[in-house]
């Protein structure tokens, strides 16, 4: 069976166009509304003042210091969350695949569990834990990374699991072992390089989740981008929407980058010619 899709019929092309238009409108319209709102003055005229302010570090520092702090917190949270998630999840998943495949279902269940628990319920459980976290490590908002690792777990797990399923981890590791590699070398030099796409997927999805997280930060009284936007929105709605838009664009860019990287990887292979077949 060929992997090349059959050419679309005229009716198919029309249906495809209509669907693209409907869904495009569905996604683009709110963005357009945000952009429109951030560039409109009360008299109906247009201005880019809000955007100029948003991209002016001095103005932001002077007028919206809490927003800058929120952005910094969120960026730090993304870094720590991704790092912690990879350190915890990646070796565990590789180890489970290679050495204890019988517990794979258990790890899968545990990893997907946060998806079924509403954030508000999660906070009820996290609140007493964070009382201890605060006691030992202080009140830094960056400590939310511990909670965020839990909420990004289902997305990261799926991405890494897909990557691990795409390669024959067992055979590759056995081949490496037979050539003299230690388990650490197998992971670092054989498995991880072949999971680059999956690791990037897991990381980008985690970044998107962390940048958009509000509930846990708000209920645990920590400051991140979303809680600050919410706060700023009460006194300067245009700036709040502009910053939201900017971070949405960043998230879209990350996802675009992700699919671009995956696409390039898929296309990079040159197939052997028939004369090479033997």
């Amino acid at each position: 069976m060929s992997g090349v899709p059959p050419p679309a019929t005229p009716a198919g092309r029309v249906a495809r166009g209509v669907l693209l238009l409907v869904f495009g409108t569905f996604f683009v319209l709110p963005l357009y509304a945000m952009l429109d709102f951030t560039t409109r003055l009360p008299d109906g005229s247009r201005t880019a003042a809000t955007w100029r302010q948003a991209f002016s570090p001095s103005v932001m520092n002077d007028q919206y210091p809490e927003l800058v702090q929120g952005i910094v917190n969120s960026l730090l949270l993304t870094v720590f969350t991704v790092a912690l998630m990879l350190v915890l999840l990646l070796p565990t998943m590789i180890w489970v695949r290679l050495r204890v495949p019988r517990v794979r279902k258990v790890v899968q269940f545990v990893s997907l569990l946060p998806l079924t628990v509403p954030a508000i319920v999660l906070v009820v459980g996290l609140a007493p834990v964070y009382a201890w976290v605060t006691y030992f490590f202080g009140e830094s908002s960056v400590l939310l990374a511990f909670a965020y690792v839990v909420i990004v777990l289902p997305y990261s797990y799926r991405a890494l699991d897909a990557g691990l399923s795409a390669i024959d981890v067992t055979t590759l590791s056995e081949a490496a072992r037979s050539l003299g590699a230690s388990w650490l070398t197998v992971m670092v030099r054989v498995v991880v390089p072949n999971l680059r796409g999956a690791i990037m997927s897991a990381a980008f999805l985690s970044v998107a989740v962390v940048l958009g997280e509000f509930t846990i930060a708000s209920l645990l009284s920590r400051d991140n981008l979303q809680t600050t936007i919410n706060l700023i929105g009460k006194r300067d709605a245009q700036m709040a929407v502009a910053v939201s838009f900017a971070f949405l664009a960043i998230a879209f860019f990350l996802l675009f980058l992700l699919s671009f990287v995956g696409g390039v990887r898929a296309l990079s292979g040159k197939q052997p010619s028939p004369e090479d077949a033997a």
Partner: protein, 364 residues
């Protein structure tokens, strides 16, 4: 079980010749290996000795334990009991990466993110021997110098397995383990690579244990072939001996084609199809039995009178032909005939069937 050490086995004229190679491999000894998975006995007392530089193939049906045995030698699985000795040293508790082995797997096992050359260099680096020329030499040995900068996905299946072979041999292992490395390849490439593996093995003299379910592969390349059944070695012998002197019905059935013909044994000779032939060791000593006769050991004769049976099917196979004959006794036999005879042996023709004087195994 019949198991011979190389010293005691008769040497086959065509395969036996470990002497053709410079012997640099190590002796390998599998001693009373057991491997149980719950109630399932994958290995049930396997004992096998490989002489330095010898090429032994383990042959058998799926689930007979041949791959398990190979993986235990590699250290990828632990034996429930028994010992593995490489070069006289007990390596039963030594982890895979500390064993002096090279292995080629059934599945493509090249590291996808490395070029062919870097794949071959990997083992050298792991063993602290970053020899820049060795990888090139090994790729040249398998005829892939020109493809050294290609990634695995840019190589065909046959090329990938050749690189895997070069990678396994680059570290100059004491033992080379081949786990059905040809089974994913198409027939023509399989034969090419099979011959190449044997050529290289003879050139380097590496002790080699080759697992396969393909009898042609095993018979074509190995110094000795071990036929396994239910975790045990049924017979270990040179390819010629295994084919011509099977010690059990299972081996005779598994290696090549046999006809089962009623026979009567007396004084070491079997009477069948109107012919008297010597019996092989392991046969019943007297009385009625079933003779296991190869198609090439049966001869068709023009029916002088009524004949012994009727031709059911005659098949042209190029260099020879095969004829299926329904005997009047109710048995059906397959007879190898010269290809030129196939046309005249039309279905329905009456023929006589005789047995050539080659020794046969007669079982109960």
């Amino acid at each position: 079980m019949t198991s011979e050490t190389p010293e005691t086995s008769e040497t086959s004229g065509t395969h036996g010749s470990p002497a053709t190679a410079e012997r640099s491999g190590a002796a390998v000894e599998l001693s009373d290996l057991h491997r149980h998975y719950g109630p399932v006995r994958a290995l049930d007392g396997l004992t096998l000795n490989l002489a330095p530089g010898e090429f032994v193939a383990l042959l058998g049906p799926s689930g007979c334990g041949k791959t398990t045995a190979l993986r235990i030698v590699a250290g990828l699985e632990r034996a429930t009991s028994g010992r593995v000795l490489i070069g006289g040293q007990d390596v039963s508790a030594v982890p895979t990466n500390k064993r002096d082995i090279g292995m080629v797997f059934q599945a493509y096992s090249l590291f996808p993110h490395m070029t062919a050359r870097r794949n071959v260099e990997f083992g050298l680096k792991m063993r602290g021997r970053p020899d820049t020329t060795r990888a090139g030499e090994m790729l040249e040995l398998v005829g892939l110098s020109a493809q050294s900068d290609r990634y695995p996905h840019q190589l065909s299946g046959g090329q990938q397995q050749r690189v895997a072979l070069a990678r396994a041999l680059a570290v100059a292992p004491a033992v080379l383990l081949l786990d059905e490395p040809l089974s994913a390849l198409d027939a023509k490439v399989r034969v090419q690579l099979r011959d190449e593996i044997r050529r290289i093995q003879l050139e380097l003299g590496t002790t080699t244990l080759f697992v396969t379910h393909d009898q042609d592969e095993a018979l074509a390349v190995a110094d000795r072939v071990g036929v396994m059944r239910e975790g045990r070695l049924e017979q270990l012998a040179t390819p010629t001996d295994l084919y011509t002197r099977p010690t059990s019905g299972f081996v005779a059935d598994f290696v090549g084609t046999v006809n089962r013909v009623a026979a009567v044994v007396a004084s070491g000779r079997a009477s069948l199809l109107g012919t008297e032939v010597p019996t092989l060791p392991g046969s019943v000593t007297s009385g009625p039995g079933t003779a296991l006769v190869r198609p090439e050991h049966l001869v068709l004769e023009p029916a002088a009178e009524d004949g012994d049976g009727t031709v059911v099917l005659a098949t042209f196979l190029g260099a020879m032909g095969r004829t299926r004959v329904d005997l009047d006794s109710g048995e059906t036999v397959v007879v190898q005939v010269p290809s030129g005879d196939v046309e005249r042996l039309s279905p329905g023709a009456r023929v006589g069937v005789r047995c050539s004087p080659s020794p046969v195994l007669v079982i109960e």
